[in-house]
Symmetry: D2
Subunit: 298 residues, 4 copies
């Protein structure tokens, strides 16, 4: 693979795209990320209650989502804001999986929580504030679960695969990269979605790349259009915030879609997915053995 | 129109979207920008010779472009770099219009050149470095030609329509806004395409919005995907650099498409345009009287 | 001169620091900028009335300023904000010079105003929005007056001397560079003062470098400390906003010092200037012939 | 305290400056940070060997430093770069303290290392990549040692004290804030030193504020001038990289001072410190009880 970025993007050979391996499939439970399907991961910012999560899970599953997102451990934009339900939240997530068949993605913020979260989740999310938490990355390399690695809000496109490489060096190449907007001078949106990140990352790395339009936008009304843009840019999926009543959400309400908004977004996505699929030429692809969580019960 | 940006975006009532005027059509010659068609403006960064420009004009016209771009007066990234052919360049542009029927867009950098350029061009471009050149903006307000206003490389989405308002206050509301990437810490691309700018600007202003994927990308290989993204985001058109032999271009060669690359881009755009068209609901629209250039012969 | 920036900073040989010419003195009237003295330029953002300007001129002169600033032509952060008194403002500035002996610096925004402003001012200011207005820069190269070139709010330290080179190529090497803060994600201050710009610019160029703490800070209370910092960093002077009653100023009131505040700043600066002077080793220096304004009456 | 930032900076009452507590003294061993003395913390980026560290410790102590810096656990700008000597490094640091009397500051990157590092160090450093590692911050709140909290390279001046508040909420108000440059579009320096951060932080918080000129500059030749600037801006001290032979350093060699360079910097600092001291008016100050490390032997 020659590209304009050859030479600049070094130090991450384990995750670099090569002639032999242009694409990797990551398994979140039974869900294939990076394969033919465009994988939509949806759910509330935070697990707030069983009722809230199950209702959301059923709704997003019915609309075509394959993975349920929901935070049990929350980074706090303020020291006093909601920190998540912790273990109780994980149990609610498991219940939602049992009832809907959705795979579960949830954030892990502390290396000490990795084993516990790995028991409950199919995909462990590294948040934007943790992209360079090397202790956490190394622990995730040993956890036996695939990892969703979000771009730091000020990380370059060279630094994101570098963090993936740290996970890979510790033994785990089941990693999904996520573009979620970067911090710039512009304040009309919460962050600036760097849509070029999708084709650049897919050119330099064999890892799947998804987009989080919710944190990029910061406002609900832009999420559907950014979702469509992501599909056309060649993304492997989305991570999207949905809430039964966003105005009462404990966090990120302004950027969460309503159920109706989510259904609308999924409908509008279809023609974009056809474009994406038509553009997706077969490439050498490595289907890796599925991981089994170290401490997992499955 | 209520939006998350109401109240923040003030001071530009003449270009603000309202219930009565949600969309304006701008006329570059006979070409309608902001109407039903997606308008592709293509051509070299700089007019280098008659042969180079005519060859490019015929090629992009055959592939579906409606407007020919080409710089006769060039901003210089270095004091010693090519500054354009000036009047000779304008004459070559006029000849290309006569031979191909394409409308002409070209940059004007100095208020003193406005009248001259207005005689030759159908659409006068304000470059990214000139977005806050108020003397130039006021002069353009009186020139009798429509204006293509590029976003300053560090201008916010509040400042861009503010500059449009300065032109409008001087008597000219025939203005096209252009997102061309902003300056951020990321260096993998020349600029960071702020794709959310398209829906935000179309929500707050009735002016057409186009995208320049070439200056955002800085590298040829990303231009087609950014072009598709722009169409799906709802843009009214593109401004794209094309050159017969980019490696020999006097400026911006790395980001210029070859003829083959341009044809490929145009073909790939089609399904994205169908999506865009389906999404384009009828809105109150003001068809303004066509301007006649003050000193123009037409 | 070898420095870490050699090789990166090219394309501006006329303003580059060399073994033969490490420092240039620029003459604003009789005031030497870039010589032994630390030159304070102070006054209101805009000339609002004769009374306002004369009162300010006398006050800042008594406190030690050598140059009076005041805008007759104003860039407008809003299309409806105050645009300056124009020619009347220039006449008031001339009167203030006659009464106080202060040299005059004022902004010129349009190439068409250059000759007129050159008749009235000792130093012609290029504002942050005009740093890449090449038509203006070229005209200033021929105007026979020294130029104060402010850094664009998003310009790199490579681009600032590049613009100076454009002026120099047109025949004028009497140029003062001005760091005034850059646009970043931080919003606690209006801009982020890039204090390292002072030693970097003085390492790569022989031109004098001054600092504008007012536009960097955006709030009055930070101006004195940034002024001291500028002196210790090796700056050749300051450009500072002062107003008789800032709360009633037509522009930039929040960042304008009161008369008392200015006197306090000047007093506090003294020990910093001793440090600066002690640190200022003699270097090869070119005392250029003083310019005479082309159309000037003096 | 009223300031232009009142109202914007909320959510951190435990570290906010008040009429009753304008300043806090933090104790790193016997060293008072935030008191009358300007505290210089110096040493290599990484502890590489006993010989390297002891030699550096003796040199910086003789030149006036009160605290020795040195990394035993290193964040890696590349997955393959030097990761530090770990426990062996901590033992070398302890030995250096015994031989020179310098207090020790060293980075802790993982919550699991906090207790161990707290046994060896007097001041625990949170690196720029860890400023929002909440699990680590909470653990540091319970560790019984003072904390040096570096600003995230893209953190606002609102987010830095917010992270300090997380530590304080867990029981530890012995925190030093550190400005180390932010990430911007400018690449002439490694980061852009936001010197206004010093007076802003000291206005809104009672915590001591120091400056790291080494990471801001990225090049050795700018470190002394940025150090002087920091003193004049009112900083409580410096964190500076020094190495016996920077060209052979395993990390950050380009920005490390030589021994001679460090001595020169310390000498040049003296007049700046006199300015700083003269400017330092007595304010209500809380001398907190010294902490005793939970697992510590002292």
């Amino acid at each position: 693979m020659t590209s304009p970025w050859n030479g600049r993007f070094s130090c991450f050979d384990l995750v670099a795209r090569t002639a032999d391996c242009a694409r990797t499939i990551v398994y979140a439970g039974d869900v294939e990320i990076g394969g033919d399907d465009f994988v939509v991961m949806a759910g509330p910012c935070a697990v707030e209650s069983e009722r809230q999560l199950l209702l959301t899970a059923e709704t997003v599953a019915a609309a075509g989502a394959q993975v349920l997102r929901g935070g049990a451990y929350k980074p706090r934009s303020s020291p006093y804001s909601f920190q998540g339900l912790g273990l109780e939240g994980l149990k609610i997530l498991r219940k939602a999986r049992e009832e809907t068949g959705l795979a579960i993605v949830t954030e892990v913020m502390s290396e000490q929580d990795v084993d516990l979260v790995a028991e409950y989740a199919d995909l462990l999310q590294v948040g934007t504030r943790s992209m360079e938490n090397y202790a956490l990355l190394e622990k995730l390399g040993e956890c036996g679960r695939p990892v969703l690695l979000k771009r730091g809000m000020t990380a370059t496109l060279e630094e994101l695969p570098r963090s993936a490489q740290v996970i890979a060096l510790s033994g785990n190449r089941q990693i999904v990269l996520c573009e979620r907007g970067i911090r710039t001078f512009e304040t009309a949106t919460r962050n600036t979605l760097d849509i070029a990140a999708v084709p650049v990352l897919k050119t330099v790395s064999h890892l799947p790349v998804i987009v989080d339009p919710s944190h990029a936008a910061g406002v609900r009304c832009l999420v559907p259009v950014l979702a469509r843009v992501a599909a056309v840019a060649g993304a492997d999926g989305l991570l999207v915030e949905v809430h039964p009543s966003p105005d009462e959400a404990m966090s990120d309400g302004a950027q969460s879609l309503t159920f109706g908004g989510f259904r609308g977004m999924m409908g509008d996505l279809q023609p974009c997915l056809e474009i994406r699929d038509a553009d997706r030429r077969p490439v050498p692809q490595r289907v890796r053995p599925r991981l089994v969580a170290a401490g997992g019960s499955e």
